[in-house]
Amino acid sequence: MNKELSFRQIAYMYVFVSISPILRQIPRALAANAGRSAYISPIWSIFLLVPITAIIIGILKAFPGLNIYEIMIQLVGIFLAKLLVLGYLLWILVSIVAKVSIYSLTLQSTLMPQTRTNFFLITLIILISYALLRGIKTVFRFSEFTLGTILVIFVILFLCAVPRIRMDYLLPISTIHLMDTIIASINVIAVGGNIVLVLFFADKLGISTTKKQKQKLWMGVLVFVVLAFFVSLITIGITGAALTADLPFPFYITVKSLSFFNLLERFEVIVTLICVLSDFIAICVFTIIIVRCFEWLFNLKQKSFLYAPLTMILYYLTYYISKSQFEFDFFYSNVMIYANLIFQYLIPVLLGFLSLFKMNKIKKQF
């Protein structure tokens, strides 16, 4: 089988897609739920991220060369598989709309406050059409090439931030707040669960995959947790938990006060750019997945005719889902997080259990 994608590209895509929620939503949500101890929450998320990654790797090992739909057919039959794909389709649809919405809100609240939403949406449609015309590999290779530079920028930002961290904003950590930090970690878990996207592209990874290749996924999860921890630590350590909880984009405000030996300043522009790039890749990947879901659901052989009506639906749904930052925050914390938990954890765990029970039958086939 021809390998269209590699594990490295998938792992890089996972980290890249997770960057914008790490910068925008996680510090704010953690500070609101757990106060000054909030930066510990990403550590608790390991206890759920490790099992889900192990389950996904186990599924990939049990069903080599099959995508999530084909795996579901093997485990639950065609009818339930189609029903689950319909669920994933709706979840991805809402996720894309939420991403497009927050993409335009980010640009409006940071660099371009006077620009109207439809300008951002039209630009995004053109850019995504161009990227998708070049093929799925272009999107993954873009994240592969860009992520290294972005991680270097983060290292520089963290180094610049260390002298400005106020210890009284971070310490003391009380055991009374331990439960709050555990509950708050749901915000990190709901983003880290994006690792499930691997299953949608599993058929493009080839049949024979080595242990070393699968380790890339573990590396992706590790980078995600480390990034979430340091971003939360710096944001709360410099801005303070109370202010972080009230700001729509606290990391942006935090970075405003940083400078690199008084030589380089205005890192906030770079942070906004990183967020926009991350959203762009996320929307591209979600669009690829939604089209694949349509292909699976309706057994389509051609898919080109889907793009025009889907673009129209996504464009107008963006206006219907939320119209301000407050509305988006409400939607994200009350709908998106729980939907993410169902589709990123509950269903893959059920699939993992079913594959364990049907292991003997599966072994005969592969």
């Binding site: 057994n299 051609q302 080109s304 025009a308 107008y316 889902i321 988006f328 939607f331």
Partner: protein, 62 residues
């Protein structure tokens, strides 16, 4: 924007007519999605100040 989208739908219909007519389900799916898109667009054009889904959820959940 709705005129641009309507034009793009007609253009897709003409350009990909072989693809759409090759399978019954392709045409049905295209028409179904187009009708949803056009309905959303027309409702938005008629009243752009409709409360959003988040606003309605917020109203009923609190």
């Amino acid at each position: 924007m709705i005129y641009i989208f309507a034009f793009s739908l007609i253009y897709t219909m003409i350009k990909l007519k072989d693809q759409l007519l090759s399978a019954y389900r392709n045409l049905i799916l295209f028409l179904f999605l187009s009708i949803i898109g056009l309905t959303l667009g027309i409702v938005y054009v008629i009243n752009p100040y409709l409360p959003s889904i988040s606003a309605m959820l917020e109203k009923y959940m609190k």
